[in-house]
Symmetry: C2
Subunit: 459 residues, 2 copies
């Protein structure tokens, strides 16, 4: 009786219990795709990848095998089913290998297969977005993506946060966070026919999330958000996933505690569950990545107010630090270079920057007693800049109304303050940017599956 195995199940067994149980499996069958196939004289080595683990399994077959000729013609990318027994490998590249009894070709590869070359550039692979998950780097990226997403779900679920699906199509444009996509149908009045009013794709689930926090205390969203911006940068996409937790009876201090704890949990989980992927990134994508992530885990995040940051930047300019923008003044919007200086040169690690001037922050943020700043926070991280943005929300109905101006369709949001409102706070993590930070990948197009940017909608 053959046992069906996967590379993932074999490596898990080996790492948990050593090689003996692997060698005792008897006859096994495994299916997957050919990575490389090197027949040479009597002995031939075929690297089988099945997608269940970052690593591959070495298959060994010989002239003695019936079907040796067919086997030796198997091409990179071909789908096969292999039968055999596991044995200790003489090479120290892997602990065990499969001694092949037979191989069945399930799906051949056409001559024009684009992934023939061993090392294709990221730019080339972007054009092959439907095939690139087969490439080493993207096997690692997308597996970490999955593990990271689940780590975030588990963190919040274990703490009793309620996962809410805030709407994607929305009638509000109140957050004012950039350009909106419009939703339309066919017909005479494509923009209003269906819903009876203009509809857009959401830029944030926060406002709807607040309504649920005021019923469930702690909630979080995890879903797609959209920006119709023509920003052609390595950090911007038109469609990206966000996590937006919101906590009732919570102030900015509590907000920062959850930000720090959730990020540390997420990073810890990835380090534990994806050691091979992180080692790969550390070696080939971003040297020092593992140390950076471990440093984040082991140090408390530092805190600084915006006002302190401005003073530090003014001092830096005086001391000759050459920012592109040296015009530092209280009230300015910090540029990425300033944010990076603050966390990389001063905090030497993740830094919470708090209490920004109210003029440069959103209307829903709670005004501080000084009347000039709001209880906002950005988390800045080395190499990246802003990773998380959050705030305590304005819970005073009069102050909120003054800042909202016309309530338009937003009276419900205002009413939340009149119907048992309370101090509440929340934050947003751009999931794709977090994944860039955790993997060291430098372009958001290379951590998303099928990235959408202006003039890019292949697939």
């Amino acid at each position: 009786m053959e046992r069906t195995v996967t590379v993932g199940s074999l490596i898990a067994l080996y790492r948990a219990e050593g090689i003996e149980p692997v060698l005792n499996l008897g006859d096994v069958v495994i299916s997957g795709w050919v990575r490389t196939n090197r027949p040479s004289g009597q002995l031939a080595f075929l690297e089988l990848h099945d997608g269940t683990h970052f690593l591959s399994l070495q298959l060994v077959y010989t002239k003695e095998n019936q079907g040796f000729d067919m086997m030796s013609r198997l091409k990179t990318g071909a789908a096969i089913v292999a039968h055999g027994t596991l044995r200790a490998s003489p090479s120290d590249k892997q602990p065990f290998e499969l001694a092949v009894k037979s191989i069945e070709l399930v799906g051949d590869v056409a001559e024009d297969y684009p992934l023939q070359k061993k090392r294709a550039s990221f730019e080339f692979l972007r054009e092959q977005a439907y095939l690139r998950p087969r490439a080493n780097t993207f096997q690692a990226v997308y597996r970490v993506r999955s593990v990271l997403a689940h780590a975030i779900h588990s963190f919040f679920q274990e703490r009793g946060f309620v996962y809410v699906h805030t709407p994607i199509i929305t009638g509000n444009d109140a957050e004012g966070a950039g350009q909106l996509f419009r939703v339309a149908t066919e017909g005479k009045d494509p923009f209003t026919d269906f819903f009876g009013k203009e509809a857009h794709l959401t830029v944030s689930g926060q406002l709807h999330g607040e309504a649920f926090a005021l019923a469930f205390k702690d909630i979080y969203t995890f879903g797609p958000t959209f920006r119709a911006e023509h920003s052609n940068t390595p950090r911007h996409a038109s469609e990206f996933w966000m996590i937006e937790p919101e906590m009732a009876f919570c102030d900015l201090k509590g907000d920062m505690e959850i930000i720090e704890a959730s990020l540390k949990h997420a990073i810890k989980t990835v380090l534990e569950k994806c050691p091979d992927e992180i080692a790969f990134f550390d070696k080939f994508i971003a040297q020092g990545l593992k140390e950076k992530l471990e440093h984040v885990l082991n140090s408390p995040f530092r805190h600084m107010t915006y006002t302190e940051a401005i003073a530090a930047l003014e001092k830096a300019v005086k001391e000759g630090v050459s920012f592109e923008n040296k015009d530092i003044f209280w009230g300015m919007d910090l540029q990425s270079e300033h944010e990076r200086y603050l966390c990389e040169k001063i905090a030497l690690g993740p830094l919470f920057l708090t209490d920004y001037p109210k003029e440069i922050k959103a209307f829903y943020m709670k005004e501080n007693p000084d009347g000039k700043t709001v209880a906002a926070v950005d988390l800045l991280v080395p190499g990246e800049g802003e990773l998380v943005g959050g705030s305590q929300r304005e819970d005073n109905p009069e102050k909120l109304k003054a800042k909202m101006g016309s309530l338009k369709d937003m009276d419900w949001y205002w009413n939340l303050r009149r119907y048992g409102g309370c101090p509440h706070a929340g934050f947003g993590i751009g999931f794709d940017r977090l994944l860039m930070y955790v993997t060291g990948m430098q372009n958001i197009r290379d951590v998303q599956l099928f990235p959408r940017t202006s003039n890019a909608l292949k697939y």
Copy 2:
């Protein structure tokens, strides 16, 4: 030193370790919202709900309390912070209650608060979508929604499935599953300006998911999908979440095994984690719900081919069963009444219906050797009809090409069969419909947060 507690933490402690540890907590502080407040003579009872559990905590205060007058004026919906000690309750409605030392009013309730009445109709509450999560039924619905979502994630993650975020904005309309929403921007050519081509909201992540299954073996999506249909029924919405697993080296039999296992895991988790919510639904929403769910858990799902189903329906008509549509013939599309008859009267439980005529199923489904049917499956459940739809996918390039017709922008999907294709299969679960099934709620508008249907885009 006061300890901060929640209703959820207290009930968890009580159920795990009994009442003693609860009574030994000493001084505690708890925040939440007033559900009811009944001052009567010397003794007054205030029901505090904090959203962390389906149940509430009874607060008891007396004339002896400083601030008794303020406390007795607290209104339904007000946000409060209460201090006191926990003691055994003399009533058998709850095991413990809070003897109040003081209460702080954090957020009052305006006179026009719409949730004054104890029992508001679902229709009324739909109009108050931002407040209804505070009502009992919706506390239960949305908590089960969150638990159910996480149960699904956990099931697939524990089995090594990779979670993939397939795109929301898409250039393909190949699935042809109903009407599409268009994505536009402002400007001269709103439908093509941004992406350089027409863009739509996705109806399914399956096709993109297949590309990832052929790299990772087992993957699943969990995200929003859209239909621009004016179906004004209790089961249709324009925006809803779907789970779409896809498995390489898997046939229809393997597909059905995963469907059955994943649904049973999801239902089991909800029964274990939400006993109070399920008891509530069983009592007030759908009598017999708990028994129904336990029955599903404990019985193997039955199997029947479409051809067998037609024979069974013909027999039923002969025997006098009065369907609205009695014109039963091989090749017809089954109506909901037929589907329900098959699972409710014949299978007496969940039923896999397989091998449908190819003419009534999608182009990507694998043709069976008979040349007439495809390896498709629908899971039918009592009371609901179709809950899951799946199939093995056509992996023969020539057969697929013949059915796809013009490849348009879909050559990549076809290429998946030419570049190491293999037998693969998958399915789709409508998450909102699954939630209806698990809670017994009868209208999709009452299990979604802010439902979007034609002419409905409030909030």
